[in-house]
């Protein structure tokens, strides 16, 4: 599934160590990287939680209260923490056979395809965002929770907030890909 077909490197915008020289882009890179690192550590936590739950269930014959809810929350958290970085690394699933061929033979058309696909991606993220922000506000104002009252409950808003942030960051990453293709196109004349 990984296709390693991220947007082509922009020439001239990075120093010798490959760092972005443009300050906002550099900060944005740190945000995406930081979210990825958080999601990465969260996977270890998820693995440990399920092991602990399995041991609790089989050794003491009783499930640990709240573990199931924490597992469910964790999966959503992991996916959205990693989403922008997966896009940046070029591993978000796409069929790139035609795209790569066009890119080698007719780079200009390839970049136009890149422009369109990035823009569609950003637009899709925008649509999700329009629906997700009102839900976050409701979750905060009306104290939505998961779990069973009296046993274990956790508020909904943190995960709703993670989704909203992740979708914004992924949308910006799509727009950066768009700009990268645009710059390559302009440089080619």
């Amino acid at each position: 599934m990984p296709d390693n077909s991220g947007p082509p490197d922009t020439t001239g915008s990075k120093d010798e160590a490959g760092r972005e020289q443009n300050a906002p882009l550099r900060i944005f890179g740190h945000i995406v990287g930081g979210m990825n690192a958080t999601g990465t550590c969260w996977i270890v936590v998820l693995m440990l939680m399920i092991n602990v739950e399995a041991i609790g269930r089989s050794a003491f014959n009783q499930p640990i209260v709240g573990v199931i809810e924490m597992i469910e929350i964790s999966i959503v958290g992991i996916v959205f923490m990693q989403l922008a970085d997966a896009l940046r690394a070029g591993v978000l699933t796409r069929s790139d056979g035609l795209f790569n061929q066009v890119m080698t033979r007719k780079p200009a058309i390839g970049h136009v395809m890149g422009l369109i696909t990035s823009l569609l991606g950003a637009f899709f993220m925008g649509l999700i965002q329009v629906g997700s922000v009102p839900y976050l506000i409701d979750a905060w104002n009306k104290d939505y929770y998961v779990g069973i009252e009296g046993m274990f409950t956790a508020p909904q808003w943190p995960i709703a907030l993670i989704i909203v942030i992740a979708i914004v960051v992924t949308m910006i990453q799509f727009l950066i890909n768009f700009a990268t293709h645009l710059r390559s196109l302009v440089q080619r004349g």
């Binding site: 599934m1 990984p2 296709d3 390693n4 990825n36 999601g39 990465t40 550590c41 996977i43 270890v44 998820l46 693995m47 440990l48 399920i50 092991n51 739950e53 399995a54 089989s58 199931i68 597992i71 469910e72 929350i73 999966i75 959503v76 992991i78 996916v79 959205f80 923490m81 990693q82 989403l83 970085d85 997966a86 896009l87 690394a89 591993v91 978000l92 699933t93 796409r94 069929s95 790139d96 056979g97 035609l98 795209f99 395809m113 369109i116 696909t117 569609l120 991606g121 637009f123 899709f124 649509l127 999700i128 329009v130 629906g131 997700s132 839900y135 995960i159 709703a160 989704i163 979708i167």
Partner: protein, 438 residues
Amino acid sequence: MYGVEVGILSVFIILILIYCGVHVAVSLGLVSFIGVWVYRDSVDIAISLLAAATRDTVSHEVFANVPLFALMGIVSAEIGLGADVYKVADQVFRRIRGGLGMATVAANALFASITGSSIASASVFTRIAVPEMRRFGYTPQFSVGVVAGSSVLGILIPPSAMLIIYAIVAEQSVGDMFMAGFIPGILLAMAFILGIMVMTFVSPNFIGGPTTLSEEDISPAISGWEIIKLLIPVAVLVVVVLGGIYSGWFSPEEAGAAGSAGALVIGVLKRRLTWSGFWRVLVETGHITAAILFLIISASMYSRMLGVAALPTMFSEWLTDMNLGLTGMMVIYVILMVALGTIIETASIILIVVPLFLSSVEALGGDIVWFGIVTVIGAEIGLLTPPLGISCFTIKSTIRDPSITLAHIFSGAFPFACIMLLVLIAIVAFPWLSLALI
């Protein structure tokens, strides 16, 4: 008929967008958005459907299977369990003509029982088995073809990422899907080995390899004790994971968590896991998890859209009206799967096509678990065929030898794609092959 036409049109638009390089999740999501907007005549409903699918879909314990089995497979590859298994298989088969090819198949079958992806298998065995076969004079086509072909075992022999995805879409138990993949996987491995044997007689030039083996080649390179030492870690993981699921001691996600922890412990004990290797493994697991689960989120938007249009029911009535019967429908379905497999990858195919066919299969009396095994093998045949055989591209990007071209890989994989098709026909004809262990 309005519904069926719009539905089929939407599938075509999705396929065209995917083919043009739009991310699969974006294609599914945008077409679902437009579909719901048209059917319900409301942008608000369409948007809230997208947002609801985004936050609800993967919030369930069963989805933990995806990161956990990915983690277990990637750790196993990182700590060299694939190479260990290959050493043993090499020892067993080295005396026979075509033996290194058979060893690659056998090692893949064994490694497949601790990893769930054909991509992982393809990249591991490209690095280990191809140089070894080239050293003994096997042709480039055969060396890479056998790696590409046998990498498919990774998704059929449990655990398997694709069987997990199918189980989620078709609402079947992950454990049942795993057990159903077992016999077909072993059958396919044996068919590959038999196929290599036949090829050594029918077309020895296609295979190449040593005609006479020197005393040095035959003498055992590793002792029996070393073989046992090499196999113990793999055996422990197989017993924990598959034994745990089959006996009912573990749920699949618990088995995945225990298997991941076990693989990490083995890596530490064998001193093969560095901190940087551990971090790399985790990042890769995260990327795969995000890619697969976001795909599932978008597929949920799509199946909600299909539900709004009542399309699966209409499609089922339409197929029933054609009086094809189960066999006739399966013939069309297998052709469709193989054709789609040549342009898009397996997970996307399962997520796009399976929701359309499920009610038809049930209406015609087919078993949903069996249907899943047929689906996965059918789509995976496409992994070996041009233009977009993904296993072949993985091998091309892993291989360091520039003299081996994509054309070599596709032509080498072709006999294995044919063998898969024969095995698939057997599995369609004899459903008990998939259902015996459930």
